[in-house]
Symmetry: C2
Subunit: 338 residues, 2 copies
DNA sequence: CTGTTAGCGCATTCAG
DNA sequence: CTGAATGCGCTAACAG
């Protein structure tokens, strides 16, 4: 039997000798009270029959699903962690999360997932920086389903209820300062254009950092995709006598840099000083340990869910900022310690 | 408006001047034909009104959800990759996946998620080695919902339709052989008990490998959790003159070992030869590169979804094996190359 | 081909 | 405090 007819409240009602309405009442802890006696009877019957409420029927009936849809670029690393925290936060307030991966910023997949989630009539949506443009998104999410962005900057109000973003720009800006303070005479940012808007923010922060703290200091920008890091480092070391600072897109890229340096016998942190982002497992466990920026997962998840809940509750936007920016925390390790 | 009433087939039917059955036919039912003309009218009306089918209503009505529930220990690394592949495979056959993380083998969370998925009336379940025991699982999954395990060994037939497992034991067994061939005089397995059954399989493989290929060769077993790897390695190097082989639980653990060795100036691969598992990013990008076992994600996902589909189709189990074992592939890198 | 009708399982009025 | 009745949006026979 592909679907061996599950037990419904009707059967529970019969077994307990009450009406289905009563069963519904006691099982869903609705505002309505019932006598101790009926409660006991119903709960017993439900227990014995192995009753399990049918989410679809319930959702259909009350026009509310208690489900939140999440779309992230991948299930792993930063994104995975974020999803885990979101899942936890959601559960704490009685919601449940449906997580989809867009396979690394693929607009077609994003679109398909969005469509599925909307067909499920999720109560809200949390998306990590959609690759599809404003217009496309608007044409899909016009259903009145609240959408909060994670790491999405400057989204029009009619599309996204709000956004809670990480302070990547600030982190990169500060990274420049740290490297300058540590005596670097040249500073490089090695990004990852494939990560779209994330890379953009980091680059902006880097440039603003150079402008503020880097007077008289040279800088370079490169992209990690397809880059021969060994050759790149060799070139750097050859060109410059002073210590060189490198800000990596994230700890993954930082690891590649670290390995290349180790392989070439370039001394870290004496010749090159390195900072990553994410404070991944990699940063903690590599040698030398990579200085990195820790991510406030809990805070970000909490705020995102909070924004949705708020939207569920009141129709008007509160006085709160639509776009929240959560700062990262610098964790210094051996790649920048002298 | 928290739920601005979405458009239904009724409205589409009115706009197109046909009955709701016709709308349902052309929109979501392939089987039944309609005249070109009505199809056009209906599709146009649906398009203009922005109709989006209500999954709950559809599922409720046909008693089938086209949804598959997935429970994995975490959203990242091996598990995350697996989930991505499952998602893809599922989509290819018209299903959609709901992925939940059990927060690292937490039985309580597993249970909760299972409950939610069953309430959603998912058509099938895919779980990664549940931490809760057979009995508990049976008491929950008695609903007739097919369950296929990923990396679950010896689950009773009345609980799990089948299983598709990775050949961890075989990989560890072969790892021993490789290390012996490379001249190691002592071989260690550094596991991770927290990963339950996965660790168990690897340990079994290790022991079987020692029995087969390790005559006259010493071996040790340790657990990475809370282990001071530096001290451990120092001890090993001090005790043994010959090259030492280490099989790490996975590439994460391997990285810790690598870093500790680098820090202590212990030469890899001359003094210590190292093999990881998973062929993660880490293995490829660390220095020296870590020899590791590549995981056939596609194959595993394909088989798992296939098993479910098969179950959906026929009630009888086919002649196929209930438990499939998919082999890993050895990728040799610098930590074992002489 | 197309329309009519009867549920799917549950929440929710509104009477008793 | 409890029960009968109505509808959520859609699919699946079954008639026309």
């Amino acid at each position: 039997m592909s679907k061996p007819k599950q037990v419904t409240i009707v059967e529970v009602a019969e077994a307990a000798g009450v009406s289905i309405a009563t069963v519904s009442n006691v099982l869903n802890r609705g505002g309505i009270r019932s006598s101790k006696e009926t409660i006991r009877k119903v709960e017993l019957a439900a227990e014995q029959l192995g009753y399990r409420r049918n989410t679809m029927a319930a959702g259909l009936s009350r026009n509310k699903t208690y489900e939140i849809g999440v779309i992230i670029p991948a299930l792993g690393s930063y994104y995975g962690q974020l999803a885990e925290h979101l899942q936890l936060e959601a559960h704490n307030v009685g919601y449940h999360l449906s997580v989809f991966s867009s396979g690394g910023f693929d607009p077609a997949i994003e679109r398909r997932h969005l469509e599925v989630l909307l067909e499920r009539r999720v109560d809200g949506l949390i998306c990590h920086g959609l690759a599809m443009g404003f217009e496309t998104t608007r044409s899909i999410v016009n259903s009145g389903t609240p959408l909060v962005m994670i790491n999405g900057w400057n989204w029009p109000e009619d599309i996204a209820t709000g956004a809670v973003n990480l302070g990547f720009a600030g982190a990169c800006e500060q990274s420049v300062k740290v490297l300058v303070d540590r005596g670097c005479g040249t500073i490089c940012y090695i990004g990852s254009k494939g990560s779209k808007v994330i890379d953009e923010r980091r680059r902006l922060g880097f440039q603003s950092g150079m402008a503020q703290h880097g007077s008289g200091i040279g800088h370079e920008i490169a992209d990690s995709k397809g880059l021969d890091i060994g050759a790149y480092l060799s070139g750097l070391v050859q060109r410059y006598q002073h210590p060189i600072g490198i800000i990596a897109f994230d700890d993954h890229v930082a690891l590649r840099i670290l390995s290349a340096a180790n392989r070439l016998g370039i001394d870290i942190p004496n010749r090159i000083r390195l900072i990553g982002i994410n404070n991944d497992y990699i940063a903690k466990e590599s040698y030398p340990g990579i200085s990195s920026w820790d991510i406030p997962y809990y805070e970000q998840a909490h705020q995102a869910i909070g924004k949705l809940l708020h939207k569920f509750g009141s129709k008007e936007d509160s006085g709160e900022d639509r776009e929240i920016e959560v700062p990262l925390t610098f964790i210094e390790r051996e790649t920048t310690k002298l």
